[in-house]
Subunit: 197 residues, 2 copies
Amino acid sequence: MTEQGTSSRPGGRSARVRASVHRAVTELVAETGYGNFTVGEVATRAGVADSSIYRRWGTLEALTTDVALTWLTTNSPIPDTGSLDTDLRAYATGVARDVSGPDGLAVLRLIIALSQSGEAGARARDQFLTERRSQLQHMLDRANARGEHPPQALDVLDHILAPIYLRTLFGMGTVSSSDIDALVDRVLATPPGPPAK
Amino acid sequence: MTEQGTSSRPGGRSARVRASVHRAVTELVAETGYGNFTVGEVATRAGVADSSIYRRWGTLEALTTDVALTWLTTNSPIPDTGSLDTDLRAYATGVARDVSGPDGLAVLRLIIALSQSGEAGARARDQFLTERRSQLQHMLDRANARGEHPPQALDVLDHILAPIYLRTLFGMGTVSSSDIDALVDRVLATPPGPPAK
């Protein structure tokens, strides 16, 4: 199989390859977990050549993070509700919902697997986190543009995302909506540092 | 091998068995990771019968958490410096130090492995966390007894432990002493909720 005839038109061959490769990765992650399958297995299941995957994604790690990021961006978009307060509550509610499912720790497991996968893993992990953090930063930038006083993105990671992840990881039960309100209130009550960029 | 002659005197047979079993688990974790060895392999390496391990610890999960908790309690004791402020800074510094080493995510990996190990795993995880949290609670109780106004143990987990773990997991670089000061200052500046028990 060659890449001749590859098109980036939506619905074209390129989009079909991407969709079938993504589907294959999603299935393999569900069946075996991150780090337990090869590019060859993805290619066979997706019905494409190994070389098509290497050419497009470079490494298995980059492919896996592309799938995870696409999933998150589609299923857990960063909110845009028109106010900082409701954006932060919607964001925290989304994180709590994502982690409460049976595969709620999938993103954490991916990040740990990447952290143990050498240089390519570290690069893929950093790309994943940079992209997701940039989505969050856009939410804070919109608040800033409205004249609100948003926290730093790092404060949101430290004091909203991290507690929800840790409590889930520690099996401390569902993070309730009043827990979420308390975390958001706390971030909003703390005087912001230097203005968010 | 029978348990006849077992003694709980320090330095007695019981203590020797415990030490050799702990050493075997520590070696196997380093060689293969959590969840990748059996009670039989521990027993062989420690030179004891499988039944001795089952009788004493019940499950592999309970044994593994006993080893991890003993390690933490010995190598990262909860501070007792005489003031809440310095206790919290010493605690946060210890957490940051523990996670910055080459095997810094070992406790997180253990907790994730236990979370995926059914009922016995969940019980062992909960016992581990309850014991460690109780050590932390003693630190806060001492502050309370001195007339200080300590945060809740949950606030320390949410806003000191969680950010340090998450930043490490996300490869965001070393948590510096000024990062630690900022996290502790923030917890101390927030008005406490209901008094710590």
